[in-house]
Amino acid sequence: MLMTYSIFMKKNDVWIIQLRKGVFELAILLLLRKRPMYGYELTSQLNKVPLFVLAGGSIYPILKRMVNKEWITFYWEESESGPKRKYYQITEEGGHIISQRMDDYRKLFNALKLLEEGDDE
């Protein structure tokens, strides 16, 4: 599966990269809707999905932008096994963004499906 994915990625690099950029924030919001998570945890969860593989550390500028937009907030918590952890949690605004964007993506997908299945005329 990984080999198929990497071949696919080479052929479609630019398009996939642009597509992913638009959905990373949505992916993070969907994860945080389940429960608060810290950066490493979010990266690990995203890395389980091949399309959302992120280099360690890349998530932090994205999270910062989302905090600035007030889609998520954060709090610090002591960790038993190392430095303090910065946990992120979704805001009400973030919840609205999920509904809005998921709806937009469904409409986009349905529109593309329609074009795919429609008559040639």
Partner: protein
């Protein structure tokens, strides 16, 4: 379980990474830099622990964690870019906020008039207290938006506050005493009150800084 050497290696290599990253975060206010670095340190720490739990030896775990991590240059570029964009969009040069932070200095200048005169100058005291109290109220308003730069300005103000304000008071007292050719005791007591107020305001700035830094 990490051995002593393993712990030492982790601190040196990860600390070096963080030190180099810190130097490259040129657009990030100091008050926010520490938080970024702490967060990244936590991430690296968790990554190393994960690898050790899979049987890697501590040295390799650290090397691999750092190899897998985004490069210092790329990470710094992304973080700096975000702050540069924010600068243009949010507060610009922020002259309004800086003016508000400057007003207490003007206020204490007014209060120093009583020290210089050796008698209470009620007009100057009223104006001085207004110049001190109104900015304090303003800073505590929930409508004020705080970012790293404003928090840094708070820190800088607090740092120089006591030195500059004490100097005003001391100069006013010494000048009065020179003019009178003897120590002016009224002036001295006004100066004590003035310094107490300055110290109170210093602790207020310090407290605000600690609170706002946590909220960043």
């Amino acid at each position: 379980m990490m051995n002593r050497n393993g712990m030492l290696n982790r601190h040196i290599k990860i600390d070096q990474f963080l030190e180099q990253l810190s130097k490259k975060l040129v657009n990030v206010p100091e008050s926010e830099k520490e938080q970024h670095l702490l967060e990244i340190e936590g991430h690296l720490h968790a990554l190393v622990l994960e690898k050790e739990s899979k049987g890697e030896n501590p040295e390799h775990a650290i090397e691999e964690a750092l190899d897998e991590f985004i490069s210092i240059n790329d990470l710094a570029l992304q973080i700096n870019k975000d702050y540069k964009n924010k600068e243009h969009n949010q507060f610009g040069e922020d002259y309004g906020f800086k003016t508000v932070m400057f007003l207490p200095f003007v206020g204490f200048g007014q209060l120093a008039i009583s020290i210089f005169r050796g008698e209470l100058a009620f007009g100057a005291i009223t104006v001085g207290l207004l110049f001190i109290i109104l900015p304090i109220i303003g800073l505590m308003l929930p409508q004020i938006k705080w970012d790293g730069k404003r928090v840094d300005t708070l820190k800088l103000t607090g740092r120089y506050f006591v030195t500059i304000i004490s100097s005003f008071g001391a100069i006013a007292f010494i000048t009065r005493s020179i003019l009178d050719r003897q120590p002016n005791y009224s002036s001295f007591f006004y100066m004590l009150g003035y310094l107490l107020l300055a110290i109170g305001l210093y602790f207020f700035f310090r407290h605000m800084y600690a609170v706002k830094k946590q909220e960043l």
